[in-house]
């Protein structure tokens, strides 16, 4: 598991109020109780602050799983997609 994924998982744990260990590799909205529309926005804000990145309008609707988020954050950090 990459360092980026672990950091994202840590942010998710804080936003959704669950243990990081309970967030599966394929975590997605609806499968974590608080990952709803509002929780999604809160996660976006937390990730932007944690990684010092800025998501685009189109990113928001496409970030529907932990792998998708990891790929997008990695790309914005200048790493491999």
């Amino acid at each position: 598991m990459s360092d980026v994924t672990e950091r994202i998982r840590s942010e998710m744990a804080a936003v959704f109020g669950v243990a990081a260990a309970d967030i599966p590799a394929d975590a997605a909205p609806g499968r974590i109780e608080k990952w709803n529309s509002l929780g999604h926005m809160q996660l976006i804000v937390a990730l932007e602050e944690a990684f010092k990145i800025r998501f685009g309008d189109d990113d928001l609707i496409r970030l529907v799983s932990l792998p998708e988020i990891t790929a997008t954050v990695t790309r914005k950090l200048g790493g491999q997609p």
């Binding site: 997605a28 909205p29 609806g30 499968r31 608080k34 709803n36 529309s37 509002l38 999604h40 926005m41 976006i44 804000v45 998501f55 685009g56 309008d57 928001l60 609707i61 496409r62 970030l63 529907v64 998708e68």
Partner: protein
């Protein structure tokens, strides 16, 4: 000097028309003597003088005045009347066709050194001392003036409360199947589509069936309906309340509607809304989905006739035959303008929304 105040005549109206001054300005009147006739939507009302003295008539015949507004004054003598007139003539807003400012209010304005712009912000036809006092209190107490955005909200909320006699209906909706279907829908379309998106989009499908809920009701009680499905949606991510309008939502797919709402959420986050994003709604929806929020009873945004609200997803155990099962539900609030809509229609509208949300196959339309 004693002000002549429009009394609270009934609970169905918020204002009354000054139909006629029975006594003329400058007349000497006795306490309890009939001086004017007011008219509400229900009946005429004879206004009696609150004191003996000389009548100063400020209100104009044919104009509407809110309950509590001052439409004139009774002066004990000529000197008091002349002083009041002089003070009023010195008030620039009144001279330019602006609000009438009572003498006591004008003295307080002068004392506080308020600008005409600050006085105009009171937005009343007749400005009383208490109005000026209320305006001055924040600064007198060292508090901060509301932000421009919050002042806009304040004006809208005030106008809504003052002009729209609303009624409210609550509908329980089982969203268990919809939530399950949304998980599959998101995975199939690789898109973050949530229950609020589904609600907004579903409501937009009902424009043709419930025309009185979509459009604008003007002051003459003429309703201009719209089938476009321009739906305002409240958004507040802690950076101010906005109500962007999802345009022509009745002709969008759920995925298209959700993408537009996502874009709005980002604008709410970045504080980058443009005026065009926020104008022209036919009906609005107040989303209050924070955990534990059962429901918020919203206002109606004038000149619309309805605002819906929805709270967080709640859970309950229900008996299915002999088995207890967990069910997810939301409470849908329908606040409607009772001048245009009655409870029968509101109930039918709420049930139609419930039917759509409880039928997951709606997602694939």
């Amino acid at each position: 000097m004693i002000e002549i105040i429009v009394p609270t005549i009934n609970t169905n109206d918020v204002d009354a028309v000054l139909r006629q001054w029975v006594k003329k300005a400058g007349d000497r009147v006795a306490a309890g003597e009939l001086i004017a006739v007011l008219e509400t939507t229900k009946a005429s009302y004879e206004l009696e003088s609150p004191a003996a003295g000389i009548l100063e008539a400020l209100g104009e015949e044919g104009q509407s005045y809110a309950f509590g507004a001052a439409i004139g004054a009774i002066h004990s003598d000529e000197a008091s009347l002349l002083a009041a007139r002089a003070a009023r003539q010195a008030a620039p807003a009144a001279a330019s066709g602006g609000p009438v400012i009572t003498a006591a209010a004008q003295r307080l304005i002068d004392k506080l050194g308020l600008t005409p712009q600050q006085v105009a912000a009171i937005r009343k036809r007749v400005i009383k001392e208490s109005d000026v006092q209320a305006l001055a209190e924040p600064s007198a107490g060292g508090g901060a003036q509301l932000s421009a955005q919050q002042q806009t909200i304040a004006r809208t909320v005030g106008r809504s409360h003052a002009t729209i006699p609303d009624a409210f209906l609550l509908q329980k909706i089982d969203v268990t199947a919809a939530l399950t279907s949304l998980i599959a829908y998101r995975e199939r379309h690789k898109a973050m589509v949530g229950l609020p998106d589904l609600l907004v989009w579903s409501v937009a499908q009902l424009t043709g069936s419930f025309p009185m809920f979509f459009g604008q009701l003007d002051d003459s009680l003429a309703m201009r309906t719209s089938t476009a499905g321009n739906i305002g949606v409240t958004m507040d991510v802690g950076r101010g309340l906005y109500v962007p309008v999802l345009r022509e939502a009745s002709s969008l797919t759920l995925l298209q509607a959700s993408a537009q709402l996502s874009s709005f959420r980002m604008k709410a986050l970045r504080n980058t809304f443009e005026a065009a994003d926020l104008a022209g709604g036919d009906l609005s929806i107040s989303l209050n989905t924070d955990e534990g929020t059962v429901l918020v009873k919203p206002i109606i945004l004038p000149p619309q006739t309805c605002m819906l609200s929805v709270g967080a997803v709640l859970k309950e155990l229900v008996l299915a035959g002999t088995t207890l099962i967990e069910r997810s539900y939301v409470l849908l609030g329908v606040t409607y303008d009772h001048r245009a809509i009655n409870g029968f229609q509101a109930g039918a509208f709420a049930r139609a929304i419930k039917s759509l949300l409880e039928a997951p196959e709606v997602l694939e339309r």
